[in-house]
Amino acid sequence: MPTIAEKIGMSVGNLYNYFTSKEMLAKDLILYIANILGEEIRQINESPLNTQEKIESIVHMYFKIAKDRPETIEYFLRVYLSNREVFQNCCEGMICVSAFVTEMMIFFEEGVRCGELRDQDFFSAFGLFMGYLGGMVFISGEHILPKPLEEYEHTIAENIYYALKSR
């Protein structure tokens, strides 16, 4: 907390006025990020796009946020997913990322309902989709990718679609 307070030019005591503990700060940050992602996917869900186009839009949105606001996705991958013990008493299960996961549920449910996606366990599909995107952003952050992230958008979206589409 002292380091964060110093970075934002605020006294430690004042920072504690906003966040009573580092766990509460960690929780509010992941809620904030999940709400950003959730709202973006909600707009895609409510658009007239077909499922393949929605996948393309989600991939584009995710990589754009990773590029324009890297702290958001990085926090999700490197803090939230990697330090679960920090969140165990205030963010059980999917509570703090509910806004994002709910929209992904709706995306998958509607894709299966209209016959464009194959019916399967939600987490199998969710893991394939978000694990893929998260992995790409992670190795991009490690400067391993030879090309900019956005150049992979189309092929990644296509891979996801072909992996999930109904046969």
Binding site: M94, M105, E109, R113
Partner: protein, 298 residues
């Protein structure tokens, strides 16, 4: 209510039926007192004034016509086609009770001949049955079978000359304003998304894995208990939605899902709201709800 009202004259007519509602009626614990308020001009099983063959010779007026079973125009009783017999008896009756899901919407028998079999007022959801011109006289009591006290409630209300509030299918709101989900002893499991993985147990919610339709079926099964002690869901059997015009559905004991998400949301609940709430509830592990209610090995 009149101080000493006359007994109601009742005709019980059967269409295409399994007799399920008649048998249910005989299980009414208050049948004796109910019979003090009604006289059966005709009933297929109980002592009554006339056989059906005698009745059709000169069709009498009645206070209540109870119709049990599905309707088909060319189905005959006492040598008379149902389209003629039902219409004549209905027009001479002050009240008509559509008894059971077959009489109400076509029900199970409609599955055999969907084109020609219907309820007397409704054909599934459509109000185009043979008594559509007399709709205001019809009270719908759907259910497979109906709870006997649902019928006695309606008869008592008519006897007392009280107004019966009805819903869009003319079902009494007093009985069908509730969902089967209301009063289910498994509601805590539903709230915290603890599923039952088999029939006949006391624990777990039957909605996710066993096809329970309680959250979108109108009926007071968990308010007015069956045999005064229990209900399907209390005994570990999923509600099959028998009071709704969509009954019978296929795959009664499985919950249709898309990517693990129920295809049908609880009645009136937006999908986004339901998924957000259920996702949050699933995040918690309530130890008390994971064990047996009564542990034989404890």
């Amino acid at each position: 209510m009149p101080s000493n009202p006359a007994k109601l004259k009742v005709i019980w007519l059967q269409g295409i039926t399994c007799n399920g509602n008649t048998h249910s009626f005989l299980n009414d614990p208050l049948l004796r007192s109910l019979l003090e308020k009604i006289d059966f001009l005709h009933h297929p099983l109980l002592p009554c004034a006339k056989t059906l063959k005698e009745l059709v010779k000169k069709l009498p007026k009645s206070d209540i016509l109870i119709f049990e079973g599905a309707y088909r125009a060319d189905f005959e009783r006492a040598g008379v086609r149902m389209e003629e017999l039902l219409n004549a008896l209905a027009s001479k009756s002050k009240h008509i009770i559509s008894l059971g899901s077959c009489a109400s919407f076509g029900g199970m028998f409609k599955e055999a001949d969907s084109e020609h079999i219907s309820g007397i007022l409704f054909d599934k959801e459509e109000q185009n049955g043979p008594l559509k011109e007399m709709r205001d006289k019809v009270i719908t009591l759907s259910g497979c079978p109906i709870h006997p006290q649902w019928l006695s409630f309606v008869i008592e209300m008519i006897y007392a000359e009280k107004k019966i509030m009805v819903d869009e299918y003319r079902r009494p709101k007093e009985l069908y304003g509730y969902l089967v989900h209301n009063g289910c002893l498994r509601n805590e499991y539903f709230e915290w998304k603890v599923d039952s993985d088999s029939f006949g147990t006391k624990e777990g919610c039957l909605y996710y894995a066993q096809g329970c339709q309680g959250p979108y079926t109108h009926g007071s099964c968990n308010k007015i208990l069956w045999n005064e002690v229990s209900s399907k869901t209390r005994a570990g059997m999923p509600c099959v939605g028998c009071t709704e015009p969509s009954f019978p559905k296929f795959g009664l004991f499985t919950t249709k899902t898309y990517m693990s998400i129920p295809a049908e949301m609880p009645l009136g609940i937006p999908k986004r709201s339901y998924l957000a709430l259920s996702g949050a509830a699933k995040s918690f592990h309530i130890k008390r709800l994971e064990g047996k209610l009564i542990d034989d090995n404890a």
